[in-house]
């Protein structure tokens, strides 16, 4: 049984109408926002939106709860930072290298994790991500507690100067939009339909002749690679890659973003990312422990609000017809 049996009942037509609406609203907001709000904050939100959407590709459309997705985000951040700073790769190639490294890591983690199902899958991903954290702590190229600092932003495709925040914002917007487009294509492809069939009833999918392990692994690698795309971009934005990115707390945060926004919806994860990052930024200024608040939101979401913001809106619109 999938975690979102109740959500998959949403009618396709309603979804596409809502998606189109959200897309239009999102596009307008994304174009206007950097002139109103600090672009670095927005870039952070965008990166986490992509990260959460990549995570949602697994939980929402294959039914796999990865509790170690920070490893991919963080690994790509390290590799991108290293490639840009030490190897001197152009920014776009550095980010790409980071994403590929994350996908490769995803291949290893995914290969091990899909050997067990359900709750075990989550525990294995968490444990392997923690192992990766300890490796990052030990190996020299990550520079331990200091992290990789002073990563050059460079230029994008050789002509966009990324030291200009506004210009960089639109580059990030393009990367994140491309990432989301890829997810949208995956979800609506024949491959995506098989993933959903596995999510809803794995034994049945197997009996229909699909090698579910191979599909799960491919989805896992895609999700890890996209999470890496987000992580690599984020490292260039902040010119920094640290242990924070690979900590289990970060894996928890991306779960929260997706849960809060709406598991299994395309608009949900970005909404959840915006709310979570916004709250974190706001709370940094007041004296209230962020982890406690994150924990409380988790508890409330799981107990009362399992459909998330986007899921609730969808349910409301369905009721109205």
């Amino acid at each position: 049984m999938s975690i979102l049996a109740q959500q998959s009942a949403a009618t396709g037509e309603l979804r596409s109408r809502l998606n189109l609406l959200t897309l239009a609203a999102g596009a307008v907001a994304a174009l206007v926002a950097p002139f109103v709000i600090y672009p670095v904050f927005l870039m952070n939100v965008l990166c986490f939106a992509l990260f959460a959407s990549a995570f949602n590709l697994l939980i929402g459309f294959v039914g796999l709860l990865s509790f170690g997705h920070a490893a991919f985000f963080g690994a790509a951040a390290y590799v991108t930072a290293h490639a840009a700073k030490v190897w001197g790769l152009p920014t776009e190639l550095a980010i790409l290298t980071g994403a590929l490294a994350a996908a490769a890591l995803g291949l290893i983690v995914g290969f091990l994790a899909i050997r067990r199902q359900g709750i075990y899958f989550s525990m294995i991903t968490l444990a392997l991500a923690q192992m990766f954290y300890f490796i990052c702590l030990e190996v020299p190229f990550t520079h331990g507690e200091d992290g990789i600092q002073g990563v050059p932003r460079g230029t994008f495709l050789g002509f966009v100067n990324l030291d200009n925040n506004l210009a960089f914002y639109f580059v990030v917007l393009a990367i994140v939009a491309a990432g989301h487009f890829a997810i949208w294509r995956i979800v609506h492809s024949p491959f995506g339909n098989i993933l959903k069939a596995i999510r809803d009833n794995e034994p049945r999918a197997i009996s229909l002749g699909y090698n579910s392990d191979s599909y799960k692994l491919r989805a896992f690698v895609l999700s890890a690679g996209l999470a890496g795309l987000a992580g690599g971009t984020n490292a260039i934005v902040f010119q920094l890659a640290t242990l924070t990115g690979v900590q289990w707390q970060s894996s928890g945060e991306v779960i929260l973003m997706t849960l809060l926004g709406g598991i299994g919806t395309l608009a949900g994860p970005p909404i959840g990312a915006a709310i979570t990052i916004g709250l974190q930024t706001y709370l940094a200024a007041v004296d209230f422990p962020v982890t406690v608040l994150i924990g409380l939101i988790f508890v409330v979401c799981v107990l009362l609000f399992r459909r998330g913001v986007a899921g609730e809106i969808l349910a409301y619109m369905r009721k109205r017809g």
Partner: protein, 298 residues
């Protein structure tokens, strides 16, 4: 001297010391994975909060000592009770709603609860630890001739093994244990016999939590009492549980001790890998025997 050819030579005393440390870590892994397995068997919930409850056990001991002057021996009884009580509140107010949902929600809920508990403690007590001395009767070293054994550490190993055995006997050899085993297999039928399964679930969660709290009391004099002491531990215990398989009570205990010892040995011969050795073992087990060392294939 003790040598592994081409690897390392070191004094036997150092080896014994690390093996003892491994045995102690193994004791905590065993106590915690045992509780996780018992809870999972009955509730089908992976209790992420297990590490936080362990931390709570240590904090209650410390708090009992500094505010009420209750010594270690009292803490050994009252702290697990207090943690069990907290668990009853968690189960009654929130966790019981998860049973009819996908098990992933139980994991997410207990993850959230963990964040709240640990975040609150970190807010009030910071990341640094509070000292908690061992009781006078268990302080000091014992000279075994071939090594100096701190009495408290020996005590932890012995009492943990006893606690694990007692739990095993309770589950495998008593009437209450038979209820538990039967309810794990078929809760509905057990209810039609007149057994209050919802109450059993609450008590099972409280019992597993109390075991974690008990481990916390034992740990207090060894490690510092700190809000973060359970955080990393719980993830290691997850790896232990995956490697051991959750089907068997004895399996959880044995795997806990074996992996603790292995970690101790790694600290001696290749300290750089000591943090990850348990995860590596988990990965190897997944490759060779996906159901776990003591698990049965689903």
């Amino acid at each position: 001297m003790f040598c592994i050819p081409y690897v390392k030579c070191l004094p036997l005393v150092a080896l014994y010391g690390q093996l003892l440390l491994g045995l102690i870590n193994g004791s905590f892994y065993a106590l915690l994975s045992l509780g996780l397995a018992v809870i999972f068997g009955m509730l089908r919930v992976i209790n992420f909060a297990h590490g936080a409850l362990y931390m709570l056990g240590a904090f209650v001991s410390w708090w009992l000592s500094i505010t009420l002057g209750i010594p270690y021996w009292g803490a050994l009884i009252f702290a697990p009770l207090a943690v069990g009580l907290v668990a009853v509140l968690i189960e009654k107010s929130m966790l019981h709603q998860m049973y009819r949902l996908d098990p992933l929600y139980g994991l997410l809920l207990t993850f959230g609860i963990t964040q709240v508990i640990e975040g609150t403690f970190r807010y009030y007590y910071g990341a640094s630890g509070q000292p908690y001395p061992p009781p006078p009767a268990l302080s000091g070293p014992l000279n075994l001739g071939f090594m100096i054994l701190p009495i408290y550490r020996a005590w932890v190993v012995v009492i943990s093994i006893l606690a694990c055995l007692a739990t095993w006997l309770l589950i495998e050899r008593t009437r209450i244990g038979a209820y538990l085993r039967a309810a794990t297999e078929n809760p509905v039928l057990v209810q039609t016999f007149g057994i209050n399964v919802p109450l059993m679930m609450t008590l099972t969660y409280a019992f597993g939590a109390a075991l974690a709290g008990f481990a916390g009391v034992l740990a207090a004099p060894i490690y510092q009492v700190s809000p973060l002491m359970g955080t990393n531990l719980i993830i290691i215990v997850f790896a232990v549980v995956v490697a051991g398989g959750m089907g068997s009570i004895l399996g959880a205990i044995v795997t806990g001790y074996i992996l603790g010892l292995l970690e101790g040995l790694t600290k001696v011969f290749y300290p750089e890998a000591s943090n990850i050795v348990i995860f590596v073992v988990m990965a190897i087990v997944l490759l060779l025997r996906p159901a776990g060392l003591f698990g049965r294939a689903a």
